[in-house]
Every structure is written in structure tokens, then in C-alpha cells.
């Protein structure tokens, strides 16, 4: 290389170094703020490993066109935002209508997070925000979810939604957050007070039964032991907390 070129390169490096230092200084401020946010996270306490909460849904009682469980869920959990594109809205529970094209037989059922014993969403979450409580309830920690949506790719039930827009009028007991992924919590805020999930309480046909799968004396455990029940995509052997009858 010739002499003038070397000088030109040195000048360029000098200018670039000054510019880089300036940008670096700016970047420090948000970094410090982020560290404070991450340290503000505290672990949840109180769930018992002796309990495993589960749900049994009798699809023979579930009426097509009835969405009482969906409305109750939305009210309880403050899911009230409206989006132009319905595909972008959060649905923690939804009604699915099934039809067997060969026999014409039809079913209607609520689909929600299945609270797997081996949840793929928990396996794939890079930050551990997707977690399973000791009592089997699968939750998302709003403070550590980075919104990568890997859990949505991994969930076999399309049970998770990304919050696509800023939220207002939230239920203080059910914090939600723009850019975070969320799903059914079994109304953990109610369960921890000894209440049933809102969807179960709202079902006019009593098609949804909630209880402790680990307690052999509980109604849900006895019915699962004595009646035919189905796990959706049982081939994946995820040991679901939600079981269905009639499909």
C-alpha cells in the first residue's frame, strides 16, 4: 500500500473510533435500566407438589354455539382488546367444532392449554419464563418472557397467544403484557383462593370438572380411573392435565 492510503486509513479509523465511543455511551443507559428490571423478578411461592390440578371435559354435554366458558375466561382475565385482524387476538380458551366427514358425527369442545406434565413450551423457552408450577399449572412469567414465540411453535394445541398491542384496563390480579406470550392459567388467581377456574364455574351444562388428579378420592381422579377419557394428541405422551370424554 502507498503512503497516502495509509494516512487515509488512519484518519478513517480515528473518526470511526470517536463515533463508536459515542454510540457505546448511549447504549449504556438502557442497559442499566434492563438489569434493574431483571433483578426485580421474584420467584412465585406456595404451590404444593402433592397436588396436580386437572380438568375433565365431557364433550357430550358441550353444546355447539355455546361460548359461556370463553366469555367467562375473557371477563376473569381481562381479555378485552379488539383487533382488526382476529387472528392476532388472544384466545386462552376457544370452542372447536369437529365433524367426522365419514359418519357425520359432530362434537363441540373447549380447547385450552392442556397443562402437560411434560410441556414442550417449558422445554423450549430460552429464559425459563414458561414454567410449570409444582401443582402442574403451566404459566408464563411476564417479567422474563422476551416474546420469542418459540413456545408457540412447540405447543401442539395452538394454546398460546402473543399480545399484539398495548393493553389498557387490565385485571390487577392477572397481569398481561404487550409483546409477551400468554395462555390459560387454570385461573391460578382463583385456584390459589380455593375457587374453580372461571370457565368451569360458568359452564351451564356442567361439562367441565376441575380437581386434583393426584387425590384418588377426588371426583376427577375417580372418573378418569373408571371412565374412558382421551388425551388430545396422546401419541406425543405429554401426560395432559386436561382430559376429554366423548371424542
Amino acid at each position: 500500500m502507498s503512503q497516502p492510503q495509509d494516512k487515509s486509513r488512519r484518519n478513517f479509523v480515528g473518526t470511526a473510533a470517536v463515533a463508536g465511543a459515542g454510540l457505546g455511551t448511549l447504549a449504556l443507559a438502557p442497559g442499566l435500566h434492563l438489569i434493574q428490571v431483571s433483578e426485580a423478578n421474584t420467584p412465585s411461592q406456595g404451590a404444593s407438589g402433592k397436588v396436580r390440578w386437572g380438568m375433565l371435559i365431557d364433550t357430550t354435554k358441550c353444546a355447539s354455539g355455546c361460548d359461556a366458558c370463553v366469555k367467562a375466561c375473557n371477563t376473569e382475565n381481562g381479555i378485552n382488546e379488539t383487533l382488526k385482524d382476529a387472528r392476532q387476538g388472544s384466545q386462552w380458551i376457544r370452542k372447536i367444532d369437529l365433524k367426522n366427514p365419514k359418519t357425520g358425527q359432530e362434537h363441540s369442545l373447549p380447547m385450552l392449554c392442556q397443562h402437560c406434565a411434560h410441556p414442550p413450551c417449558v422445554d423450549v423457552c430460552p429464559t425459563g419464563a414458561s414454567m410449570k408450577r409444582a401443582d402442574g399449572i403451566v404459566l408464563v412469567d411476564r417479567h422474563t418472557c422476551i416474546g420469542c414465540r418459540y413456545c408457540m411453535l412447540a405447543c401442539p394445541y395452538k394454546a398460546r397467544s402473543l399480545v399484539h398491542l398495548p393493553l389498557t384496563n387490565q385485571n390487577p390480579e392477572v397481569p398481561r403484557g404487550q409483546g409477551c406470550v400468554e395462555s390459560c392459567t387454570f385461573c391460578v388467581q382463583r385456584v390459589d383462593k380455593g375457587l374453580k377456574p372461571a370457565c368451569v364455574e360458568s359452564c351451564p351444562e356442567g361439562a367441565m370438572l376441575f380437581g386434583d388428579l393426584n387425590d384418588p378420592a377426588s371426583e376427577i381422579a375417580q372418573r378418569i380411573a373408571n371412565e374412558k377419557t382421551t388425551q388430545v394428541r396422546g401419541d406425543l405422551k405429554l401426560n395432559l392435565g386436561v382430559r376429554y370424554q366423548g371424542i
Binding site: 431483571s38 429464559t127 422476551i146
Partner: protein, 401 residues
């Protein structure tokens, strides 16, 4: 004899190119800021197709970043002399393309501001979690490798560092493939062939990116690549393109073999609208057949621009493949109730018609802008231009081995 080259990449021409790169990067950054503040409802993504165009571009850049390092590895690890002068540029592109890929994927997060959390809360069962180690170590190793290659005093250490970087890049791309390979829920993924398929794709896409940037650098320096080196690099690209096609064939044939996956294969290869169009037209014809013709038909391969055109088409084909693989894999509905007709308010049983929005397009292309800008600045600052001592190479028989 090695002749001194004149770098034309100075003054106004450098600043003009850097300005273009900076503008594309800033548009991407602005688009990401808009998405971050407004929420992802301003994108074409939704709760069925939640990984959109930015993931296509980001994963392309991340996979190609690993593969572009091959050029250096062939020189240092496998001792092919014609590749040795290309090592520093190869390492540089590996760093800048990975940085660009991470720029896109991080800014597409729902909470891009939580990058520190991603680095401080790691779940080791997650392939994304592994990336918190895979990427920084890759940056470190390749940075060290480039230093060893460029500093004569350190050159003796370049082989062990090169071997480590080579192994690490294989591990890293195995991880990228496993992001999909471990997903049991979906018909498009959950296949052991995906990780090796991504590795061979990284070979082809990385070499294509290298050839494109190298040809630009030769133009800037008013130099011409020696024919025997050009033929060698073009031949290697052809082999990689053919190998990618083989792996894609195996991936689809495996899926077709499983009866429960045939509906999905029918969709992705024949009836799925944009997806079969991009697969056959973009990946197979433009990204595989045409480049192979350009590289191996004697009348075409003699043209100096054939390799560059083939490299460009390989990149186009790669982006088409990833669009079909990532978007098509989500657009096809989850098969929760086999044999049943399914409908719901959440679009169960429906094929999603994702259309990328302008912010997504700007962020995605912004990634290419970042890679270009970083590389451009680096080649302006340090001598990355590959210079061949042809007489020496010929005398040692390196151009014939």
C-alpha cells in the same frame, strides 16, 4: 509474483456505498422501533404464523454466517493453499453476517428491550438457550481466528484455532437446525434430517455469500480472479448446491413416507399456492437447476459472471426455501384431531394466508444492510482483500490438487 492492488474503495465511493448500507440498516432499525412501540399487530404475523419474514432473513443470515467460515477452514484446517488468502475475508463475513442475523431476530422479539434477560436467564433445555453460548463463543473464536490469520507473528496458532472454530460452527448450525428438528408438534418439523440439512445449506449459502462479496471486492480493486481459482470455487459451490438438493429431497421423501404427513406434503409441494410456487420456482429452478447449469455447462461456465450469477441465485433459492419451510410450516394447521373436519374462532383447521407487512420487509432487508455495512467498514479499515500469488501456487501444484 504478487502485485500491489489499488483500492478504489476510497473517498466518495466508499461513503456512497456506506451511506446506502447505513440507510438500509437505519430503515430496518426504524421499522423495528415502530413494531416494538406499536406491538406486532402492525405486522402481517398473527397467532398462527408468528415467525414471519424477519425469521426467514435472520435464519438465512445465521446459517450462512456459519457456512461462510468454510472458506477459511478449507485453507487452514484442510490445508488447501488456494483458500488460505481468503481466510480473513471468510472470517470477517462470518462475524458480520451473524451480527446481522442477530440484529434481525433480536429486534423482532415481542420484547426486544429484554435482551439482558435473555442473556442472564438461560434455560438449558432450550435450543434458543444454547444460543446464548453458541453465538458469543462463535464471535470470540472467529475473531481470534481472523487475528491469527492476519498477524504473521500469530499465524502458527491459526490451525488449532481454525479447527476449534470449524467444530464450533458445525455445533452452532446443528443447534439452528435443531430449533426445528426438536419440535414434535408440527408436520413440517420434528425430523433428524433437519440439522444436517441446515449444515449443508450453510455450506452452499455461505460460499455463495463469500463469492458475491469477493467479486465486489475484486471490482473495487480493479482486479480479476485467476481462472483456476474461479473454477475451483465455482465447482465447490456446484457440489454444495447439489448436496443441498439431495438433503431437501430426503427431507420431503421421508415426510411423504409417513402416511400421516402426506396431506402436509401435498400442501407444501402441490396445492398450497405461494408455497409450492416458491419451492419449485424459487428453490428448485432458480436456486438449484439454473445455478448448476451456470456452473457445470461448459459454454456457460466460461463466462466470468457465471459464478457470481450462480451465487446470487443460490441466495435467492435459499431464501425461497426458508420461506416455504418456516412460513409454510406454520400456515398449515395443527392436526390435533386426525380425520376430522375442524373449525373454530381461532382458525383451527384453516390454512393461514400470511402476507408480510412493510415494517417486516424493512427489518428483514435491514439485516442485509447491516451485514454489508459492517463488512464494508472492516474491509476499508484492514486489508481483507484476498491476494493470490499465482506463480507460487502454480509452482507448488496447489491449483491442481
Amino acid at each position: 509474483m504478487q502485485t500491489a492492488l489499488t483500492n478504489r474503495l476510497e473517498g466518495p465511493s466508499f461513503y456512497a456505498l456506506a451511506g446506502i448500507g447505513a440507510l438500509i440498516s437505519l430503515l430496518g432499525l426504524g421499522a423495528a422501533l415502530y413494531m416494538e412501540t406499536s406491538g406486532h399487530h402492525v405486522t402481517g404475523m398473527n397467532n398462527q404464523v408468528f415467525w414471519g419474514l424477519p425469521h426467514v432473513f435472520a435464519i438465512f443470515l445465521i446459517v450462512a454466517a456459519s457456512g461462510v467460515l468454510n472458506v477459511a477452514s478449507i485453507g487452514t484446517v484442510f490445508g488447501k493453499k488456494a483458500y488460505k488468502s481468503r481466510g480473513p475475508l471468510s472470517g470477517l463475513l462470518a462475524i458480520t453476517m451473524l451480527a446481522a442475523g442477530l440484529f434481525v431476530i433480536m429486534l423482532d422479539l415481542g420484547r426486544a428491550d429484554r435482551l439482558v434477560i435473555a442473556m442472564t436467564h438461560v434455560n438449558w433445555t432450550s435450543v434458543f438457550g444454547w444460543n446464548m453460548v453458541l453465538y458469543p463463543v462463535f464471535f470470540g473464536l472467529v475473531g481470534l481466528y481472523v487475528w491469527m490469520l492476519m498477524d504473521r507473528k500469530m499465524y502458527a496458532y491459526s490451525k488449532p484455532v481454525g479447527v476449534a472454530a470449524f467444530i464450533w460452527r458445525l455445533v452452532m448450525t446443528t443447534g439452528t437446525g435443531s430449533i426445528f428438528g426438536f419440535v414434535v408438534a408440527r408436520q413440517a418439523y420434528h425430523s433428524a434430517v433437519i440439522a444436517p440439512m441446515f449444515i449443508i445449506m450453510s455450506f452452499a449459502w455461505g460460499l455463495a455469500a463469500f463469492l458475491l462479496f469477493q467479486s465486489a471486492m475484486y471490482k473495487w480493486h480493479g482486479a480479476e480472479l485467476h481462472e483456476s481459482i474461479r473454477k475451483r470455487l465455482n465447482g465447490l459451490l456446484g457440489v454444495f448446491i447439489a448436496a443441498v438438493f439431495y438433503f431437501v429431497l430426503v427431507y420431503h421423501l421421508t415426510n411423504i413416507y409417513y402416511a400421516k404427513q402426506t396431506d402436509f406434503e401435498q400442501f407444501i409441494l402441490l396445492s398450497g399456492g405461494i408455497f409450492p410456487q416458491l419451492f419449485w420456482g424459487g428453490f428448485v429452478v432458480l436456486g438449484t437447476i439454473v445455478p448448476l447449469l451456470l456452473l457445470f455447462v461448459p459454454s456457460m461456465q466460461r463466462s466470468a459472471g457465471a459464478g457470481t450469477a450462480a451465487a446470487l441465485l443460490t441466495i435467492v433459492g435459499g431464501l425461497c426455501f426458508l420461506y416455504v419451510f418456516i412460513i409454510g410450516g406454520q400456515a398449515y394447521p395443527l392436526d390435533m384431531f386426525p380425520g376430522m373436519e375442524v373449525k373454530s374462532t381461532f382458525f383451527d383447521g384453516h390454512i393461514d394466508n400470511y402476507v408480510p407487512s412493510m415494517p417486516e420487509i424493512l427489518l428483514s432487508v435491514g439485516g442485509f444492510g447491516v451485514a454489508f455495512l459492517l463488512t464494508l467498514i472492516a474491509v476499508r479499515v484492514l486489508p481483507f482483500m484476498p491476494q493470490d500469488d499465482i506463480a507460487k501456487l502454480q509452482a507448488s501444484g496447489a491449483l491442481h490438487d
